[in-house]
C-alpha cells in the first residue's frame, strides 16, 4: 500500500487552529464595537473588515506579499527589529490567515450581539457595571452559539485557503505546504491517488465540522427571557 505524507494535513489543521484561537481574541472586541458603536466612520470599518469575503484571495495575497517582503519598509522593519520573516514562513501564513478569515469570526459574533435585546446591555450599565463586566458576564454567555459559529467558520475557511497561501507561503515542505497546496501539486504531477487522499480527508473533516456546529447549535440555543 502506498503511504502518503501526512505533514500537509497536519500543517493545515495546525494553521486553522492557531488562526481561529487568535481570531477569537481579535474578533470579539471588533464585533462588540461594530455591534454597538454609534460612530459615523463605523460603516467604513465594517466594509474593510468584510473585504476578504469579496476580494480574490490573490489580490489580498499580493498586497500581503508586498507588505511582508523584507525588501519593503514594513517587512524590513520586522526582519531588522524582531528577526521576523513573514514571507514563505508558517508565521506569515498565520498572519495572512488571520486577516483572510477575520470577517468569518466577526460577522457571526456581531450578529449574536445585535440579536440580543438592547435592554440587556443597558440594564447591566444601570446596575453599575463597566463595559468589560457587561461584555463578559451579561452578553458573551448569551451568544455562545455565535462564538462557536465564528470559531468553526474561521477554522473551516482557513482549511479552504489556497490563493493567499500560494502567494505568500509558496510550497515549502513542512513550513507552508498545506493540504490544499499539496492537492494542487499532486494533480500537477498526475498523482491522482495522493490528491484523492488529501481531498477525501478534507471533505470528511469539513462535513464532520459542520455536523458538530449544527448539533451544538441545536443543544445550546435556548429561548431568551
Amino acid at each position: 500500500m502506498t503511504t502518503y505524507d501526512l505533514e500537509p494535513l497536519f500543517l493545515t489543521f495546525k494553521l486553522s487552529f492557531i488562526t481561529s484561537v487568535i481570531l477569537i481574541f481579535l474578533g470579539l472586541p471588533m464585533a462588540y464595537w461594530l455591534a454597538f458603536s454609534k460612530k459615523k466612520y463605523k460603516i467604513a470599518i465594517e466594509a474593510l473588515v468584510s473585504m476578504p469575503i469579496v476580494l480574490p484571495p490573490s489580490v489580498l495575497g499580493f498586497y500581503l506579499l508586498a507588505a511582508f517582503s523584507p525588501a519593503g519598509a514594513f517587512g524590513g522593519f520586522l526582519d531588522d527589529v524582531f528577526n521576523l520573516k513573514l514571507v514563505f514562513t508558517f508565521e506569515g501564513l498565520i498572519v495572512a490567515s488571520v486577516i483572510y478569515s477575520f470577517p468569518f469570526m466577526v460577522q457571526p459574533i456581531q450578529a449574536g450581539f445585535q440579536n440580543l435585546p438592547i435592554s440587556l446591555r443597558e440594564a447591566s450599565f444601570t446596575l453599575g457595571k463597566s463595559a468589560m463586566t457587561t461584555l463578559f458576564k451579561a452578553l458573551v454567555p448569551n451568544i455562545k452559539p455565535s462564538l462557536l459559529a465564528g470559531f468553526i467558520l474561521s477554522f473551516a475557511h482557513t482549511i479552504g485557503e489556497f490563493g493567499v497561501v500560494l502567494m505568500i507561503g509558496g510550497s515549502m515542505k513542512g513550513e507552508t505546504k498545506v493540504a490544499s497546496i499539496a492537492i494542487y501539486e499532486e494533480v500537477e504531477a498526475l498523482n491522482y491517488g495522493a490528491a484523492n487522499f488529501y481531498s477525501a480527508i478534507l471533505f470528511f473533516a469539513a462535513f464532520v465540522i459542520l455536523i458538530l456546529v449544527y448539533a451544538a447549535n441545536k443543544k445550546w440555543v435556548k429561548p431568551l427571557n
Binding site: S124, T126, G128, K129
Partner: protein
C-alpha cells in the same frame, strides 16, 4: 429632591416632538408620569438613567449634578445608581433568578443575607434557581424589581411595569411595588398610561402632553373635572381603613396612592369590603367627583 429641566428633540412616527419637561420630585415620593404612548414618558426615564442624552438643560439629584449641558457634565449610567425596571424586564438569560439579583449587589458575599431577604420578600425564594425562560410574566417582573432594588438605588424608575401582565397579577404587583417603596424609602417614578394604576399607586401625577408637563398634582386634583378624554371605568385598588355606619349605609375610607377616598356603600358591599385585603373601587371616570378625597 430630583430637579429636572431638559430639552430633547424626539423623532416619533408622528414627526418631531420637542420634549422639554420641567419637573421637581420630592425625596421618597411616588410620582406617576402619565400620557399617551409616544408622549415621551419613557424617554424621560431613559434620560434620568443616563441611557439617552438631552440636548440642553440640567438634572440635579439631591444637589448633585448628573447632567448639565452648560457645564458639560454627563454622568454615565454606571455611576447614577438608578434602579431601572425595563418594559421587557431585561433579565439576563444566562443567570438564575438569584444570580440576576446578585449581579446588582455591590458584593454578593457580604450582601447574601440582604439578597435572601429580598428573595423572601418578593416571593421568589422557591424560584431562586430558575432561569428567566422558566418564569411567568409576573415572576419575571418581580425578579426585575428585586434586582433593581438590590442595587440600593437613589431612584427607582418603572417603565410601564404592569403593561404586559394580566389584571390579577397587576393588582398584587401594584401592592408589592407600594410595599417596596415604603420599606426601602426609594423615590419612585412610574410611567403609566393606565388611570386606575395611577389612582391606586401614585401620590403625585404629572400629565405629559406634546413633550411638556401640562398638569401636576394628586391624581384626584389632576383627573377630576378636567377634560382628559378618558372614558370608561376606573378601577382603584386600595386598603380599607375605616367603615362607619350611617343609617342603613356605610361610609368607607380607602387608602389608595397615598390619599384617602371616601365612598358611601351599602351594607352588602360593606360586608364584601371587610372580607378583602385590598378593596377595589369601581367607578365611572365621569363620576370621579362622587368620591370624596380626604387628604
Amino acid at each position: 429632591m430630583i430637579d429636572i429641566n431638559i430639552r430633547k428633540t424626539m423623532h416619533t412616527a408622528d414627526g418631531e416632538i420637542d420634549l422639554k419637561p420641567e419637573l421637581q420630585v420630592q425625596e421618597n415620593a411616588l410620582l406617576a408620569l402619565f400620557g399617551k404612548s409616544g408622549a415621551g414618558k419613557t424617554t424621560i426615564l431613559r434620560i434620568l438613567a443616563g441611557l439617552e442624552t438631552p440636548e440642553a438643560g440640567y438634572i440635579k439629584i439631591n444637589g448633585q449634578i448628573w447632567f448639565d449641558s452648560e457645564k458639560k457634565i454627563n454622568l454615565t449610567p454606571r455611576f447614577r445608581k438608578v434602579g431601572f425596571v425595563f418594559q421587557d424586564f431585561a433579565l439576563f438569560p444566562n443567570m438564575t433568578v438569584r444570580e440576576n439579583i446578585e449581579y446588582a449587589a455591590a458584593d454578593k458575599k457580604t450582601e447574601a443575607e440582604y439578597i435572601d431577604g429580598m428573595l423572601d420578600f418578593m416571593g421568589l425564594k422557591k424560584l431562586a434557581d430558575r432561569r428567566p425562560h422558566q418564569l411567568s410574566g409576573g415572576q419575571k417582573q418581580r425578579t426585575a424589581l428585586a434586582r433593581a432594588v438590590a442595587l440600593k438605588p437613589k431612584i427607582l424608575l418603572l417603565d410601564e411595569p404592569m403593561s404586559l401582565l394580566d389584571d390579577e397579577i397587576k393588582e398584587s404587583l401594584q401592592n408589592e411595588i407600594l410595599e417596596i417603596h415604603r420599606k426601602y424609602n426609594i423615590t419612585t417614578i412610574l410611567v403609566s398610561h393606565d388611570v386606575s394604576e395611577v389612582f391606586s399607586m401614585a401620590e403625585t401625577v404629572c400629565i405629559l402632553e406634546d413633550g411638556i408637563i401640562k398638569r401636576q398634582g394628586t391624581p384626584f386634583e389632576v383627573f377630576s373635572g378636567k377634560e382628559e378624554n378618558i372614558n370608561g371605568k376606573l378601577k382603584i385598588t386600595g386598603k380599607l381603613l375605616n367603615l362607619n355606619k350611617k343609617g342603613n349605609a356605610y361610609k368607607a375610607e380607602i387608602l389608595a396612592g397615598g390619599q384617602i377616598f371616601t365612598k358611601t356603600i351599602s351594607a352588602k358591599e360593606a360586608k364584601e369590603y371587610r372580607a378583602k385585603k385590598n378593596v377595589v373601587l369601581l367607578i365611572d371616570i365621569k363620576d370621579i367627583n362622587t368620591i370624596k378625597q380626604l387628604s
